[in-house]
Symmetry: C2
Subunit: 201 residues, 2 copies
């Protein structure tokens, strides 16, 4: 047996990373479609085309898998959002507001919502999700401040941005059962105008 | 058997109404504490001190009981809210905003949230909850417009009020896992100021 070099290890690590990623994406899709009760490690492994043993190697518990999944996808979305506006609000503050709100209407938000609601009744999951939610919340806030070109040293600016993200979360919830796209478009247009006036001061 | 008069029937009707009300209140408390999976007609009947048969006489199905419960409590809250501000925003628009947001942080919101999320994965419940949500949403909007003294004939005013209720819903969601009272207080103070400026125009 020769020394294991970086070159030797690399393809195996790549495969392992790809497997992990497939599991995380399958976990979010599964949560969004079937809710917490219908989302087990076995169901996700099958969906990802990975053996149950391999899934458990990456994620020893169900809580590990699903909190990691929501965090992974939230990071991916946040990166994609920043890439959309490389110049921040210099582009168009209203477009930034619309894009921020969009983050809360897709499968990631549905998955996160199922996880939060399940966590509110399950202690073990609760602690994990609370910590995750704080981290994702801070990151969303940072991205919003940056993209909106908001100066948080001004009085009330921090709370203005927080309220916008709370509204985005509420709009996501309104979209859970029915297609709320048309109404949401009108609300977002109006509040983007309000925000534009407030942040321009 | 003599004719059943209004006087004869009244005490029985009162008892029946009281039983119904106990069931509805127990159902909301049960949903808020245990979620949909832990909320059955039997559990609610026991909590309300009512026989399972009597519960099923009032509410033949689980869906009947829980949608009626959320609707009943929403109506009670809405009535109580209007009673708090008999003069509408003539009192204090910022106090109205705070009171509107408060509607979304108690057991009723938690119960409704569990019902919505369960409904998103269960077709039969979904149709019922969608209809309920539309009715409760319209009523909340009407109460908000009235209490804020908002003139919806003005451009964007309708969407301004809708956005406020979306924000309130999002703030309720943020309160699900952790005590968000302090942060919410700051966000509400800031947005109540913004809303006051917007509606004063």
């Amino acid at each position: 047996m020769g020394a294991v070099t970086a070159v030797d290890r690399s393809p195996k690590q790549d495969r392992s990373r790809a497997t992990r990623q497939r599991l995380l994406e399958a976990a979010v899709a599964c949560l969004a479609e079937h809710g917490w009760a219908g989302s087990t490690v076995s169901v996700v492994a099958e969906r990802a085309g990975v053996s149950r043993g391999a899934a458990q190697h990456h994620f020893p518990t169900r809580e590990d898998l699903f909190t990691a999944a929501v965090e992974y996808v939230a990071e991916e979305r946040s990166t994609a959002l920043r890439a959309l506006f490389p110049d921040g609000a210099a582009g168009d503050r209203r477009a930034v507001v619309a894009a921020l709100v969009d983050l809360y209407t897709g499968p990631l938000f549905r998955a996160a919502l199922h996880l939060w609601v399940a966590a509110s009744n399950e202690d073990q999951l609760g602690a994990r999700v609370t910590e995750l939610e704080a981290r994702v919340g801070r990151e969303s806030h940072r991205a919003a401040v940056e993209l909106l070109g908001a100066d948080e040293s001004g009085p009330g600016v921090r709370e203005t941005v927080q309220g916008l993200l709370d509204m985005a979360r509420g709009l996501g919830l309104a979209h859970l059962l029915t297609d709320d796209t048309a109404r949401r478009g009108r609300v977002v247009a109006q509040w983007a105008d309000i925000l534009d006036r407030e942040l321009a001061d």
